[in-house]
C-alpha cells in the first residue's frame, strides 16, 4: 500500500501518494522532514509549475523530465519540491517521488493564482 499524504496550498487540500518503490531515498527524506512547509514560488521558465524549498539534499533517482499534471518532484539543484499542475515537456529533470491523486483541480486553481501573486502557504503533512 503506497503511503498517502495531504498537501495544502492556500485553502485547497489535495491527497498525494508517495512513489516509494521508484524514489525510495527522496520519499524517506521527505517523510523525515514532515511537515514540509514553505511558500509558493511560481516557475518563471518551466511553465505550469510551482515549487517551494525542501530542507534537505537528495541524490538523483527516478529522474523524469516530461511531466504529467499532478506530478511532484524534487529538484536537487535548488533543493525544491516542484508541483506540476499541468503537463509540461520540462526543462530539467526532477526526482519524481509523488503524485496528486485527489483535488488536482484545486491545486491548478492555486497554481494559476500563484502566477499572478506568489507566496501562498504550502504544507505537506500526514
Amino acid at each position: 500500500m503506497s503511503k498517502e499524504l495531504r498537501m495544502r496550498v492556500a485553502d485547497e487540500v489535495a491527497k498525494i501518494v508517495l512513489l516509494e518503490e521508484e524514489a525510495p531515498e527522496t520519499c524517506k527524506k521527505a517523510m523525515a522532514a514532515l511537515p514540509l512547509k514553505g511558500n509558493l514560488i511560481h516557475a518563471k521558465i518551466a511553465g505550469k509549475e510551482f515549487f517551494f524549498k525542501a530542507p534537505f539534499f537528495c541524490d538523483p533517482e527516478n529522474q523524469v523530465q516530461a511531466q504529467q499534471a499532478g506530478n511532484i518532484g524534487y529538484y536537487d539543484g535548488a533543493n525544491s519540491i516542484c508541483v506540476f499542475y499541468e503537463a509540461e515537456p520540462g526543462i530539467g529533470t526532477v526526482n519524481l517521488f509523488a503524485r496528486i491523486t485527489e483535488n488536482l483541480s484545486g491545486i491548478q486553481k492555486e497554481g494559476e493564482k500563484g502566477w499572478k501573486k506568489q507566496g501562498a502557504m504550502i504544507e505537506i503533512y500526514e
Binding site: 514553505g38 511558500n39 509558493l40 524549498k53 539534499f57 506568489q118
Partner: protein
C-alpha cells in the same frame, strides 16, 4: 563537536517558516539609483540565488572527490566574502553579518564530512533567503510592463 554546523542550522531553521525582518525592511527602505528599491531587491534576489548555486557546486565538487577539502574551504571562504556586498546593498544586514562571521569561523572545521554538512546548511540558508525575496517581487506586474514596452521586439 558540530558547533558551527549547528549554529548555521539553527539560523536556517529560524528563517524557514517565518519571513526574516530584514527582507520586509529591504522592500521598504533599500534605496538604489532613482531612489528606487527595485534594483537593490532585484540584486538581493539574484545574488542570493547565485550564492546558493556556488555553495551547491562547492559541495558537489567535494563529494565527487579529486580535491582536498582545505582547497574547497578556502574557495568557500572567498566566495562568501565576495557575496557580502550583494547582501549589504539590499539592506540584508543580518544575513551579511551572519555570513561574514561564518566565513571567519570556517577554519575551525577539520573534517570533510562536517564541511559537507556546513555547505548544505549554508546553501539551504541562502536558498531560503532567496525564495523569501523572490516571492515578494511583483513579477507579474513587471512582466506586464516589460511586454507592454515591447521588450520582446528588441532583438
Amino acid at each position: 563537536m558540530y558547533g558551527l554546523v549547528e549554529e548555521v542550522r539553527k539560523k536556517r531553521e529560524e528563517i524557514w517558516v517565518n519571513e526574516p525582518q530584514e527582507v520586509k525592511a529591504s522592500f521598504l527602505t533599500a534605496k538604489g539609483s532613482g531612489d528606487s528599491t527595485f534594483f537593490p531587491c532585484l540584486y538581493g534576489d539574484f545574488e542570493a540565488r547565485a550564492c546558493h548555486h556556488a555553495l551547491y557546486t562547492l559541495r558537489q565538487t567535494l563529494r565527487n572527490g579529486g580535491v582536498d577539502f582545505q582547497t574547497i574551504m578556502l574557495m568557500t571562504q572567498n566566495s562568501l566574502r565576495n557575496y557580502l556586498p550583494y547582501l549589504s546593498w539590499p539592506g540584508l544586514h543580518d544575513s551579511e553579518k551572519f555570513i561574514k562571521d561564518v566565513a571567519e569561523e570556517l577554519t575551525t572545521i577539520d573534517s570533510e564530512n562536517e564541511f559537507i554538512q556546513l555547505l548544505e546548511e549554508l546553501a539551504l540558508y541562502v536558498g531560503r533567503l532567496n525564495f523569501w525575496i523572490d516571492q515578494s517581487m511583483p513579477w507579474y506586474e513587471l512582466i506586464q510592463a516589460y511586454e507592454a514596452a515591447g521588450a520582446s521586439d528588441h532583438k
